[in-house]
């Protein structure tokens, strides 16, 4: 196990290094840089002013030197200066991380809390009216774009309640924050919960037909025990995998939801930074997301072991 963890750790480092090179190079291959955008925003493209900005920001230095400076700084915890706001990138990024993390966490939690039980119910009540109803709901969850759903929720709220659940002021308490984030989290989580539900259902149906389930039933185990103790645990393996993948995909979902509900999180900030070619912000945020994805994958692999004792990671 120790050797496996060491190998995984080294692989993580290698993956993050690869990501850093990829994002660094890709950003510079995209047409236009911050100097283009800054002068463009002013409606001019004066070559002298542009050259001055490029020099000030160090974009005229060799690319290897720029990369080395970024990675060196990252290792020391210095994320550099944001090009647009001219403030330390850490100051710009840090306050937004908890907001998005809470939103993503709540969305993921909702998707599991809704998706897994309803998936099980749908499977054990296969081909009943309840099953059809849940399948239609899950299908709509997969089909409705979060952006559209978010707008519908806002419109309905304004029309019926005369209020709008957007993040316009910083919440004063934890409870207020949970209340504020719950609607956008439900909008993002709706799609994920639909996916989790459908996968749980199909996985459960497969497991429920296994011999050991028949054996458990013949031994007199109750229906609840068969469903939850014997079947669900084995059916959860693919579900855990998809939850891991969804955690990474959530960032994409957050971009639109943060925009519609006006939440000042990292996802919306990342898009804005990409549009402005604000390299320090984009590079550091992408690295942060890559780190989270790598960690989630690691945790998913560990979860396999906990769920199925037959799985062993050899040294």
């Amino acid at each position: 196990m120790g050797a496996y963890l060491t190998r995984r750790f080294l692989l993580m480092i290698l993956t993050l290094f690869g990501m850093s090179v990829l994002i660094f190079v890709m950003l510079r291959l995209v047409p236009g840089n911050i100097a283009d955008i800054l002068v463009d925003a002013a409606g001019i493209a004066d070559p002298k002013e542009k050259a001055k900005i490029i020099h000030e920001l160090g974009l005229d230095r060799p690319i290897i030197e720029q990369y080395g400076q970024w990675i060196g700084g990252l290792a020391r915890g210095d994320l550099g200066f944001a090009y647009v706001s001219e403030r330390p990138a850490l100051e710009e990024i840090a306050p937004r991380i908890p907001i998005s993390a809470k939103l993503a966490g709540m969305a993921l939690l909702l998707s599991v809390l809704i998706g897994v039980p309803f998936g099980v119910i749908s499977a054990v009540r296969q081909n009943t009216a309840l099953d059809y109803f849940l399948r239609v709901i899950s299908l709509s969850g997969l089909s409705l774009p979060s952006f559209w759903l978010g707008l519908l929720v806002l419109m309905a709220s304004v029309h019926w309640f005369g209020t709008i659940p957007i993040y316009s002021n910083e919440p004063r308490s934890f409870l207020q924050e949970v209340g504020l984030l719950s609607i956008p989290a439900a909008v993002v989580g709706f799609r994920s919960s639909a996916l989790v539900m459908r996968l749980t259902r199909s996985s459960m149906l497969e497991v429920l037909r296994q011999d050991y389930i028949r054996t458990a039933r013949s031994k007199g185990a109750s229906q609840t025990s068969v469903n939850y103790d014997h079947a669900l645990r084995n059916a959860l393996l693919p579900v855990v995998t998809i939850i891991g993948i969804e955690a990474a995909f959530l960032v994409g979902g957050l971009i639109v939801t943060e925009t519609v509900f006006n939440i000042p999180g990292v996802a919306r900030f990342l898009v804005e930074a990409i549009l402005w070619r604000d390299y320090p912000i984009v590079q550091n945020l992408v690295m942060l997301i890559a780190f989270v994805v790598v960690m989630v994958n690691f945790l998913v692999d560990m979860a396999y072991m906990a769920l199925d004792p037959r799985i062993k990671y050899a040294d």
């Binding site: 002068v39 463009d40 000030e56 647009v84 709008i164 804005e272």
Partner: protein, 533 residues
């Protein structure tokens, strides 16, 4: 007719809300406004967008400014600001300002004539490089005629011009001409600027919010009325509109409400005060006249003759956009040519079919016809407000055997591409900071301007521009301006397809808002705005 009615209705609504003597202005409160996007910086001198002017104008003062109680900015409606008075020398080449005493910057330091000098020194390229007050200068051309700024005393400053230029005062009165402080570095001016204005910047959180708080030491006693102006940056327009309807915001971003959205707002919030007005932002066509095929004047003429501006207006703004030549048309525009004259210049004909028939003859003479169309790319910024008119243009060009293909350009490289002449036809939007021929002509049509994107170069027009600029008789100047407009239309220099008209709405409790009808970039001081609650 519809726009006239809208203007009258808007004016009446605003007049009722502002001018009623029955109201006693109330002190205090927070004005909440939605902002459409993240301002590139807070430095007005370095940017060219209403996204910067609207929130940050209230932080600064000018030397003089357009009377905020007047809806139309005009040279005879300029009032003192940091300057108490001004005078010209007999040759009209020296403009001397007497400055107010006792004015302080937001950080407590005293304001003096040196600040005025260092602001305009930076704008004409004579500033101290180390001070680095500005790093971009999009309106350099405004001050081409400014030779030097001299300080007479702490309260006296003189602008010396190369030749008489009556419009110079109008440029100083623009929202784009605040006085900066010498002691604050450019980086701070871009992120948390220091001014002498009625509001101080408390916070500018990128992509999130801008918070302005009352300046208790403001030199104008009793102003401002508001305690706080809270701008929330809400990039999604639907969210902004719903937020206004739900009472989350007291006011929409300027000109944010299109005519279809206005209908929604009136349905959901019937008591909202909405005012329709021209923005002085035109949609115009960029023609690369230095490369084939549009290096042929006949081809440019045919293109202009194919335009039907009414169709553009009908589709883009439910018929509310205004048809005009190079200057914003009257009644909002002070200098634009009258309607009957407009109908006589290319691109604005009333009988479009007849005009197109003539254009087709020109095209046939050049060897193009239905079976052998001229194939061109129509480049534009990849943003809806640019793309939509470009698509309509492509459709109209089909009428004269021109087959256009849309080429959406990443917005980051748009001006680089245009200035590099890597296009054939382009669709562009141009906002004018001051409704004044000097500002518009020198910026967009003068041969030496950085912002003359098409590199239109006509020595005769350059001469006419200089001539109108020096003319002191307003009526004579107007006639010269109309001649220039006619010449520009005949030359196909940036054919205008329309002037945008849009709506701004606010809650009835917001009082004292007076929108300027010939420039969206002016009139955002907010010092006379108050809340009736």
């Amino acid at each position: 007719m519809r726009i006239c009615l809208a203007l009258v209705a808007g004016s009446l609504a605003a007049a009722v809300s502002v001018a009623s003597p029955a109201f006693a202005q109330k002190q205090g409160g927070t004005l909440r406004i939605s902002h459409r996007d993240n301002p590139p910086s807070a430095s007005i001198h370095e940017e060219s967008t209403i996204s910067v002017n609207q929130p940050f104008m209230a932080v600064f003062n000018n030397l003089v400014f357009f009377d905020p109680n007047e809806k139309v900015n005009s040279p005879d409606k300029i009032v003192p600001d940091l300057a108490e008075s001004w005078s010209w020398n007999p040759e009209l080449t020296k403009l001397t300002f007497k400055l107010r005493q006792g004015v302080k910057w937001h950080d407590g330091k005293p304001f003096s004539a040196k600040d005025v000098k260092c602001t305009w020194d930076a704008l004409i390229g004579k500033g101290d490089e180390k001070a680095d007050i500005i790093r971009k200068n999009p309106r350099k051309v405004w001050y081409d005629n400014l030779k030097e700024v001299t300080v007479g005393s702490d309260t006296e400053v003189t602008f010396t011009l190369g030749r008489p230029q009556p419009s110079f005062l109008s440029m100083l009165a623009a929202g784009y001409s605040p006085v900066y402080s010498c002691h604050v570095p450019g980086r701070d001016m871009r992120s948390k600027p220091i001014g002498t204005g009625p509001f101080k910047v408390a916070d500018f959180k990128r992509n999130e919010a801008i918070k302005l708080v009352r300046n208790p030491d403001y030199w104008k006693k009793g102003r401002p009325y508001l305690d706080v102006i809270d701008w929330k940056i809400v990039p999604n327009r639907s969210t902004r509109m719903l937020g206004f309807e739900a009472g989350e915001f007291d006011m929409t971003f300027d000109s944010d409400v299109t005519f279809p959205l206005l209908k929604d707002i009136k349905a959901q919030k019937p008591d909202a005060v909405c005012e329709s007005r021209p923005t002085n932002v035109s949609s115009n066509i960029l023609i690369n006249r230095d490369a084939p095929p549009f290096d042929k004047p006949e081809l440019r003429k045919a293109l202009v003759m194919a335009l039907d501006n009414k169709v553009f207006a009908d589709i883009l703004s439910q018929g509310n956009d205004l048809d005009g030549a190079a200057m914003l048309p009257p009644p909002a525009g002070v200098w634009g040519m009258p309607k009957d004259m407009l109908a006589t210049i290319p691109g604005h004909a009333t009988d479009v079919e007849k005009s197109r028939a003539e254009a087709r003859k020109i095209m046939e003479g050049l060897g193009y016809n239905k079976d052998n169309p001229l194939k061109v790319k129509v480049s534009t910024r990849n943003i809806a407000i640019y793309r939509d008119p470009a698509v309509l243009l492509i459709d109209q060009l089909k009428q004269i055997y021109i087959e256009g293909e849309l080429e959406p350009i990443d917005t980051t490289v748009w001006y680089t591409k245009i200035q590099g002449k890597k296009y054939t036809l382009g669709m562009n939007l141009t906002g004018v900071g001051v409704d004044d021929p000097d500002v518009n002509f020198y910026e967009n049509f003068f041969s030496k301007s950085d912002r003359n994107y098409t590199a239109y170069n006509n020595p005769e027009v350059d001469k006419m521009i200089d001539q109108q600029s020096a003319e002191q008789d307003r009526e004579k100047r107007k006639k010269l301006v109309w001649e220039i407009e006619k010449k520009l239309a005949e030359d196909g220099a940036r054919p205008i397809i329309g002037y945008n008209v849009a709506n701004t709405c606010w809650d009835p409790k917001v009082k004292g808002v007076i929108l300027q009808h010939n420039s969206i970039y002016n009139g955002w001081r907010f010092e006379d705005v108050w809340l009736d609650k």
